[in-house]
């Protein structure tokens, strides 16, 4: 019964991998219900404690946590919406329409995909602060909206899914050129919007470095920034229980949403990397 043996071995292996992946979450959850002094001992706590309430009170006292949550949602939604709109319009133009310099412009856009975003950091900071967008969501939303990868991907999707005949038919039917996209093409882009949308939303949700530079008021901070703030003052020590509870509350919803629609998520996030 070699097959049965192989089957057990394989499933055991995968199970073990999954367990190891989840170990950090497990410990995080346990420590979230303990106080810092309970955590700082050998052996560290292995079972849930009763201090979640206190820890929660500490979180709320230090940062406007739910406000930060809302900020993250607003920023991510805005970036996603703006990016999808701009990239789908642009992608359609590149895919279905002809205009002078099309190849050149597209090549230029594509070229920037390979460039590291660290180069943009200082200029974005300077431009957005000069525009007086410090502590304004615009500083985070606007620079991220025009994604080269997004327009590339939309063009790919449109040119491979939408048949030119469809467009021509619409033209013959008298549909004005400017409305073809909105009437004919956009409704067919559902999967593309979903995939790219997930990618954009998650990317923005978890983004830290650049928002960290422009959002310095704790009422405007997004979730990762708020978590960073909770790490606290080095001259006061870290409250681990509080931190773990905060990370739990920050991670849980995303993970739950992910599991509810994992296939969609995975498809979206690996879009472009998987050929076919």
């Amino acid at each position: 019964m070699r097959d049965a043996g192989a089957k057990t071995a394989v499933n055991l292996f995968l199970g073990a991998c999954s367990l190891i992946i989840f170990l950090p979450f497990f410990f995080m959850l346990i420590e979230a219900t303990h106080s810092s002094s309970e955590i700082l001992q050998t052996p560290p706590p292995l079972f849930p404690g009763v201090r979640a309430g206190e820890n929660y009170a500490s979180i709320i006292a230090t940062v406007p946590f739910w406000r930060n949550y809302l900020n993250s949602v607003i920023v991510a939604a805005a970036i996603t919406f703006l990016s999808l709109a701009l990239c789908s319009l642009g992608g359609y133009a590149f895919a279905m329409l002809d205009f002078p310099l099309k190849r050149l412009i597209f090549a230029a856009i594509l070229g920037t995909v390979m460039l590291p975003w660290l180069v943009d950091l200082v200029p974005w900071f300077i431009v957005t602060t000069r525009l007086r967008w410090t502590n304004n969501f615009l500083a985070v939303i606007v620079p991220a909206a025009a994604s080269a990868f997004g327009v590339f991907w939309m063009r790919q999707y449109i040119s491979s899914t939408i048949h030119p005949a469809l467009i021509d038919a619409a033209r013959i039917d008298g549909c004005p050129e400017g409305l073809i996209f909105f009437r004919i093409v956009a409704p067919l882009l559902g999967p593309a919007y979903a995939a790219l949308g997930i990618m954009n939303f998650l990317g923005s949700w978890n983004n830290f470095f650049y928002p960290f530079l422009v959002l310095t008021n704790k009422y405007m901070m997004t979730l990762p920034l708020a978590l960073n703030l909770l790490r606290g003052d080095p001259y006061r020590g870290m409250d681990y229980g509080v931190l773990m509870l905060a990370t739990t509350v920050a991670l849980a919803p995303v993970m739950l949403v992910f599991w509810a629609a994992s296939r969609r998520f995975i498809a979206g996030m690996t879009a472009g990397a998987v050929k076919g």
């Binding site: 097959d3 995968l14 999954s18 992946i21 989840f22 950090p24 979450f25 700082l40 050998t42 560290p44 701009l86 319009l89 642009g90 133009a93 329409l97 205009f99 002078p100 412009i105 230029a108 856009i109 920037t112 460039l115 590291p116 660290l118 180069v119 943009d120 950091l121 200082v122 200029p123 974005w124 300077i126 431009v127 620079p143 909206a145 025009a146 050129e177 400017g178 830290f208 470095f209 979730l223 990762p224 978590l227 960073n228 790490r231 080095p234 931190l243 990370t247 991670l251 995303v254 993970m255 992910f258 599991w259 994992s262 296939r263 995975i266 690996t270 990397a273 998987v274 050929k275 076919g276």
Partner: protein, 306 residues
């Protein structure tokens, strides 16, 4: 005549559709690259006018040992992380691809979970997990008879392993899913052909699966290279954000990455010119290595065919 008019009309629409994207892209995609280049030749603290200093920033970067340290650290992390991720992800994908596994989607979802988490949140969790005295990892190691490891202090040589573990933990699911999808795309007939030709499992792996996966692997690798060379969040949090010790990167700056260096130059010291120069250095390195590895790997393929 009419055709020309129609064409012009369509071009106008095309430009209109493109306009919003192009405007933002020029402002925040193209302009920054040029502005950064300009700044890299200046001395500027954000107030007043930038002072032109030619190549001084670049020379200062080359003369600075911490730049090479950061480069070394960043490359070290990326290389060793991928030594684990590539075979690991491939193995898991391979195993997942077999007929022994029923719940393929479940496993994929489980392994992919770290990808949706915030790096900051996870880095904070890892800081407590790897605490020297009271961390869970040292406690488990103690159970195995290993003495507690000073992950973040001492000579700082263990900081990179922690970052690598975090990186692998996060990205192995991604790689696994992509390889899995790639493997699923391989025509079953090829396998059958090979078996008919007398190939065993190992041969199939070597001569069918891997070569067909090459483009996928290459693409993933290059993207991962560009991203991996810019890691900030993990390094920032795991080295305590530069507090306490008074310098970024942790003990002996063992966790100092290029991104941290740029942050330190631009936003701790306010030297925007210097920060831009370092970023440009990084960009040149990434571009050169990407082109080089792309050429190298495609050449190998062609010589292998010949």
């Amino acid at each position: 005549m009419r055709r020309g008019k129609i064409q012009a009309g369509r071009s106008a629409v095309a430009y209109l559709y493109l306009a919003p994207f192009i405007v933002l892209f020029l402002s925040f995609g193209i302009f920054p690259i040029l502005y950064s280049l300009f700044l890299s030749f200046t001395y500027w603290k954000g107030i007043g006018a930038p002072i032109f200093v030619f190549l001084d920033n670049y020379i200062a970067t080359i003369r600075d040992p911490t730049f090479f340290k950061a480069l070394y650290n960043t490359a070290y992390i990326w290389v060793f992380a991928h030594i684990l991720i590539l075979p690991g992800g491939f193995l898991i994908a391979y195993v997942l691809n077999t007929a022994y596994v029923r719940k393929k989607n479940l496993y994929q979802a489980l392994l992919f979970t770290p990808m949706v988490t915030s790096t900051i949140a996870v880095s904070i969790v890892f800081t407590t997990l790897f605490g020297e005295k009271y961390g869970m990892i040292n406690f488990l190691l103690g159970g195995l008879g290993v003495s507690p490891v000073a992950w973040f202090h001492g000579t700082g040589s263990m900081i990179k392993p922690v970052i690598i573990i975090l990186f692998v933990w996060k990205w192995i699911g991604w790689n696994c899913v992509i390889y899995f999808a790639g493997m699923q795309g391989i025509d079953r007939e090829l396998y059958e052909c090979a078996e008919v030709e007398g190939a065993n499992k190992r041969d199939i792996l070597r001569f069918v699966t891997v070569p067909l996966m090459r483009p996928t692997i290459l693409y993933t690798l290059i993207l991962s290279f560009i991203g991996g060379m810019q890691i900030f969040d993990e390094a920032y949090i795991l080295t305590g954000g530069g507090q306490g010790a008074g310098y970024l990167g942790g003990s002996n700056q063992g966790g100092l990455t290029i991104a941290l260096l740029i942050y330190e130059a631009g936003f701790r010291r306010g030297a925007f010119g210097q920060a831009s120069a370092i970023a440009y250095f990084l960009m040149i390195i990434i571009i050169l290595l990407s082109i080089f590895s792309f050429r190298f790997l495609t050449e190998r393929r062609e010589s292998a065919r010949a």
